[in-house]
């Protein structure tokens, strides 16, 4: 029987370590070939934002290539590819209203619009669900 895990993320990338920990958990689960559902809510809709770009770091004297800035959108793509190559899947839903109000609709391929009803449906059919709240 396959394992399906559902995650809800709320924190934006680059600002909160919760986003990074969430991606680490997803990567591990993807390597195991689990089926993964993600609802990105509030600022988390920027995690797969296609407009993210690397930048140089003049403080360290690095150009763009040397800095090799990690980008969450690339990590999302890799998690999807990793899950698929191991027999699993990644279904990533960005909250449509959250994306609209933030101008974050330009997401990487594979991300679709949705909302909390997707979470409710996933929870009913998943092995387990982890809600990662934003810090109040």
């Amino acid at each position: 029987m396959s394992t399906t895990l559902t995650f809800m993320l709320m924190d934006p990338p680059f600002e909160a370590t919760r986003s990074t920990t969430a991606l680490r958990l997803l990567q591990i689960a993807a390597e195991r070939g689990y089926n993964l559902n993600v609802l990105a809510y509030e600022g988390a809709v920027y995690v797969p934002f296609a407009g993210q770009t690397g930048h140089p770091n003049p403080v360290h004297g690095h150009d763009v290539g040397e800095e090799d800035h990690p980008l969450p959108r690339e990590w999302v793509r890799i998690i999807g590819e990793t899950a698929a190559s191991n027999g699993g899947s990644l279904d990533w839903v960005n909250c449509g209203m959250c994306a609209d109000e933030r101008g974050a609709n330009d997401a990487v391929d594979g991300v679709r619009r949705g909302g909390p009803p997707a979470l409710a449906a996933w929870m009913a059919s998943s092995t387990n669900t982890l809600i990662i709240p934003t810090r109040a």
Binding site: L5, T21, I28, A29, T127, N128, P133
Partner: protein
């Protein structure tokens, strides 16, 4: 008896008291409780930080684990009964159907 895994991500002196108390009380009531420290929650593992809290949790039978990556990032050597662990453990707990709650 239920199986709980609580994930504590906040600095222990800045807002994680509730999850520590919840872990202690549920374990004392006979439930299987794991407190998994991540991010700044790993400061609890540092010697001299809330040693009384760690002692209470240990006495109550709570299993205390801390993300080894977060410990290393912060230069923390786990103490007071806290053991370093991989995030693989958290994924194990999710896959096993434990009640996993992120505070």
């Amino acid at each position: 008896m239920a199986n709980y895994t609580f994930i504590a991500s906040r600095d222990p002196v800045d807002g994680d008291a509730m999850v520590h108390e919840l872990s202690r009380d549920l374990s004392s009531a006979g439930h299987d409780v794991v407190l998994f420290l991540v991010e700044n929650g790993t400061f609890l593992a540092r010697s001299g930080v809330c040693d009384d809290v760690k002692a209470e949790l240990a006495d109550a039978g709570v299993t205390m684990l801390a993300d080894a990556f977060a410990l290393a990032e912060r230069g923390i050597e786990a103490s007071g009964g806290v053991q370093g662990a991989s995030l693989e453990t958290l994924v194990d707990h999710l896959a096993a159907g434990r009640k996993v709650v992120w505070h």
